[in-house]
Symmetry: C2
Subunit: 703 residues, 2 copies
């Protein structure tokens, strides 16, 4: 279906006008420049028919003009609309009636323009649903297919042909990129300006482009992601086939604030986006430079199977590249003995990596060294750095790069201005980007490395634990009627119990006799805490007592009640929780916040200072697979503490993995839980398990 | 003196040749292109005289040729030498005799070429010393002064005129930069290829360029810094006057390894360089892109006095800039009420920061918004972002930027290709760089911010504590004769005592009676440790006992000796250290490693996991000022633990500052100490001081 956006046989330009400078004029001109188009009715060859639609004219430029799409005699499969917003619903209705399924709404004045526009946008969605229309926009620049020559935008330029598909949520940014792409020689297969994403969004086009032979990389600029779960599912699948490179603005608090006033959408949590991107296999870029550097490199290099080799005629830039490789976490290739021998025989200054052929080397010597290195085992990719010394002929050196690039991917860093221009042009013809700065070459290779790593990762499905969901559900509903916030009460622990998350023995006491009975059953010492939905920070108001001995139980019971009653906002006191004391162990925290776009965002970290001061935490979006849970635990720096430092025994990681998985299931089973924390969990040495000492939940409305 | 390198009246090109393609030919051609040169003897106006020197010719190109510099009749104040390395000493002698003080040795084949070349380089240094010659190189590209038109290099290009002085330790990199500078329109005031730095190094030129009116920024590419202390002193002073921007290769372990095989110099510690750079006020760049982005921006903007404002016609790129501002630690400007009112009256989409004038805004509306923002208080700099929408005329918009740039520094981000070219050219004429990527603009502003912060910092001189140095010196000498490594023995604590660093009471016992006597004096419990220079890890071999009570002293004494004797490498056992037990307190570590270039590198961190797992440490090069010491403590993340978490009292920071300062003085007073550690220091709450529990030193040879 979406294919007809890019390969239509009949196009109607609704709102076309002969008036120079108007959107409807530029748009028609661009579409008419379609190399094999046939204007109006007099089609002589089976090719693209282009119609103008405007009741005031009979012909505009070279196209026959109709009062509405309904009057067009032949079939139309793409309508591009550039009439005032207020008239768009009517035109859409006509498209529906005419049987035009693919529509690009260029017109602005919808959701982005305030309340009135939002009403129009709802109407647009309603009509699209009614006729089953696929709509790009509204409020967009249009679409481009460079491979057929279709430019259905009102921009002044068409980008060069290439194998990168570019989706942009900002029309202005798309304009800038297209304009720049010509001087930067960055080629695109397709360009889609997504606009307000009223009907079609990035997910639809990612799915389409996954199967598009002309597209090797899907590159996106996004301002929001509304269907977070679908985005993750789609990208997780598509990124196994081709790279999905995304720059998302609003990544920081300041950016998100600016973005929400710009797009009018409420920002999800900053962590959720980068976590979702990572889990789905998105290659994330944090600048425009990175966005296109990564895309261009990924459009021809998909893997770095081995270390990075550097071949250079100038030591300094070679060292710069080596620095960048270490800083980016890549590895310099270690050469085998034969390779080193061959390089030594070539009389290079350094036959380790980086290979320095020296400033007096000519292009041939450089090419020979490049050949030796590209034949070496354990070399995954090569950065070929050349300074414009007198003996170097860049054209010749460039030929070596082009020739050897099939053996091992080579990124050229031919450093210079005019001198290297011709070689750089030669590279571009083969889709190879030259860099002046070796650091950019390394950064791009690092993106390739991350992509191939995530592509090769096979995720097992999340496990499912059998639980008595009905009992819990009942409990939740009961609770929900009473209040939105739910404290540590007995119900909280019942949830843990039902899901098999180990917690200390406990009981809720309403009298001193009950308290003593529970404590006698548990064994001493015990801890005692108030049960009240109105008291969140129990410790702060003196409503938590630890290490209570038998003779202290009664006194403590009254003391806790007394303090709770003094606490002015505590109206509902349900009793006192008597709990088994768990001593020793290391403290970890597992938390969940439900992100409005992506769902439950699970957090893991070591308790106290590590979370609070070092922000040493890891995130994943639920549901978690076992590998996710293991990764979450291992990726915090303080994992070494769990592994055991200075001869300590290893902590029971398996039990933490189990808790994370069961906690993930809770968050999936109950969408009404907005936030939940197991804080602290005390974990003991391997084989001795862990205990969730405290549990907090914040409930929201059921959906 | 160095001024005659750049403004000579008579230049001799030794090794000039009529043979095309040879270094001596290109060099002479470049020098002859001097716009106001006067060739040979027939000078008609008081200008630059250029002589060729080569015994085989009478005239080369337009220059009269002499057998040696001695035959030249007039005065010569700059000789540029391009003869084979083996002949350089002879030529240098002749320069000395002729009274030519400034010499550039282009010739390669010196230290970089192995042992024979190193001998020649020593000879070069000897002759330079003898005649007091200032020598650039050897093994260099030469020098350039764009403002007079002097190009004394053998490269093919001359860079555009500008106000950035560029020093490069790599000739090949200098070649690449000069070639690139023409297409990138990056202008230089002076270029110096430093070569092997046999006589003159970066410090000499930094001092010279500090006073050069044509230079606004000193930009360097360095591979090593041999005179580390001098470098720090020079840059510390010069960076108060103008920015010193440095890219140093070999910043990482991998890079340093590659660099040492390239330059033949032994790398100092990786931490020492970045610490020294930071302390001296260097603006450090980690890529070529950053090196020139930072330099170009600093060449016109020295301060960001306020927050950053963003004015844009497209929301998306505005948000990108906001993201980058938060990530870089800069602040978005908060507008005052009047500014917001004015912006609201202008009908912009967002009158908070970023200001979005919307896609339908023309250049005038954009300029008006820019005017309002540039007049606003609390705005330190503006990033002006424009997409190529239909209503925008970039030339007009550019004029607004140029006009308002005097009020507040503006960095233009005019996004596009051909469309923005003319405006970009206009900016360049005013020394303003346009970016396509807003993230680069933000990064450059961040460099400005860091520079101005470091420039404004006033460092008090390090304090000096009175100590009995003679006694310590004697002790050190005694110790040194015995062995290079020195354990925790009594002497170590005597050093601390002499320098006023608090430590537990102690005594060295050779018999059980002595041990008991000391322990009785100190009070119980005590700790007991072996005193032996052969045992470094005392705890590991069971030679440390804590919490020893009176009745255990004798038994413990023998147990420690027994274990020490079983430890095979322990030949010298001096006795048992009996020490006061210090219980409680928080553990911090203070360490020192002597860097071969920069001297004592002092480290501070919190003990155990924070140093080992989180690498949460700070570094400074001694001597420390009081501010340095305070900064060191406050800049570790775990400082919050010292400040007190969860209601704990604040630790005694003053006492730690005092220890750092005294420790710094030890490291300055005794160059023979190569490494030293106070590990752990136990620090108590404010007013209760700290104690160095253990002290280790590694001694080297006295210099």
């Amino acid at each position: 279906m979406l294919d007809q956006f890019f390969n239509p046989e009949g196009i109607a330009v609704v709102g076309a006008t002969p008036k120079e400078g108007k959107v409807g004029n530029t748009l028609l001109k661009n579409i008419l420049s379609f190399p094999e188009q046939v204007k109006g009715k007099d089609n002589t060859k089976q090719s693209v028919r282009i119609y103008a639609v405007n009741p005031k004219y009979e012909k505009i430029l070279d196209a026959k003009c109709y009062p509405s799409v309904l009057q067009i005699e032949e079939g139309v499969n793409l309508a591009v609309i550039a009439v005032p917003a207020i008239r768009v619903p009517e035109v859409l209705e006509q498209c529906g009636e005419k049987g035009i399924k693919n529509v690009v709404v260029i017109s602005a004045g919808f959701k982005e323009a305030g309340r009135g526009g939002a009403v129009l946008e709802s109407e647009l969605i309603r009509i699209s649903d009614k006729y089953g229309l696929s709509v790009v926009g509204p409020n967009c620049l249009g679409i481009i297919n460079t491979h057929t020559g279709l430019n259905a935008t009102f921009g002044k330029a068409t980008p060069p042909e290439g194998n990168i598909a570019f989706l942009s949520q900002s029309g202005a940014f798309a304009l800038a990129v297209i304009d720049w792409s010509k001087v930067a020689s960055v080629g695109f297969s397709k360009v889609v300006s997504l606009g307000n994403k009223a009907v079609l969004d990035e997910c639809d086009f990612i799915e389409y482009l996954a199967k598009d032979d002309e597209t090797a990389v899907i590159t996106m600029y996004l301002e929001d992601i509304r269907e977070g779960r679908r985005f993750m599912d789609v990208v997780r699948q598509v990124s196994k086939i081709k790279p999905v490179v995304v720059m998302k603005s609003g990544r920081t608090e300041a950016g998100a604030k600016a973005a929400s006033s710009h797009t009018g959408s409420i920002a999800g949590s900053v962590e959720a986006f980068s976590t979702a991107f990572q889990q789905a296999g998105v290659v994330e870029a944090n600048s425009i430079t990175d966005l296109f550097d990564f895309s261009l490199t990924l459009s021809r290099i998909r893997d770095v199977k081995g270390g990075i080799a550097i071949v250079t005629n100038s030591g300094g830039p070679g060292v710069m590249a080596a620095d960048a490789i270490e800083e980016s976490g890549l590895k310099l290739a270690a050469f085998d003995r034969r390779t080193m021998e061959k390089l030594r025989d070539l009389h290079v200054a350094n036959f380790y990596n980086p290979v320095d052929v020296k400033g007096d080397a000519d292009s041939e010597k450089f090419g020979t060294a490049l050949g030796i290195v590209s034949a070496a085992e354990r070399v995954g990719a090569i950065i070929a750095i050349l300074s414009p010394t007198a003996p170097i002929e860049f054209d010749k050196a460039g030929d070596y790069v082009l020739e050897l690039n099939d053996k091992k991917p080579i990124i050229p860093v031919f450093m210079g201005g005019e001198t290297v221009m011709r070689a750089v042009e030669g590279f571009k013809k083969h889709g190879i980007t030259n860099y002046f700065d070796p650091v950019r070459a390394v950064k791009a290779l690092c993106a390739v490395d991350k992509y191939s790593e995530s592509r090769e990762k096979v995720s097992a499905p999340p496990p499912y634990f059998k639980v008595d969901r009905k009992a819990i559900k009942k409990l939740m509903e009961l609770r929900e009627r009473e209040e939105a916030k739910m404290g540590i009460g007995v119900e909280g622990f019942k949830v843990l119990e039902a899901y098999g998350i180990p917690a200390p023995s406990y009981g809720k006491a309403e009298t001193t006799e009950e308290a003593l009975g529970i404590a006698d059953r548990i064994g001493y010492p015990v801890s005692m805490k108030i049960v009240s939905p109105d008291i969140v920070h129990k410790t702060d108001v003196g409503c938590v007592k630890l290490n209570v001995r038998r003779e202290e139980v009664k006194e403590t019971f009254f003391e806790i009640l007394h303090r709770a009653e003094k606490y002015t906002s505590a109206r509902r006191i349900e009793g006192v929780l008597v709990q088994q004391m768990i001593e020793g162990g290391k403290e970890v925290i597992v938390g969940m916040k439900r992100d409005m776009h992506f769902g439950p965002l699970i957090m893991f970290g070591l308790g106290g200072i590590y979370v609070e001061v070092f922000k040493d935490v890891s995130f994943r979006i639920a549901p978690l697979s076992k590998d996710d849970a293991i990764e979450m635990i291992k990726s915090v720096k303080a994992y070494r503490i769990l592994r055991g430092v200075r001869g300590e025994p290893m902590s029971d990681i398996d039990s933490l993995v189990d808790v994370l998985l069961r906690f993930s299931q809770i968050s999936m089973d109950f969408p009404e839980i907005l936030e939940a924390d197991l804080n602290p969990i005390k974990v003991f040495e391997h084989g001795k398990g862990c205990y969730a000492i405290d549990f907090k939940m914040i409930m929201g409305e059921r959906k």
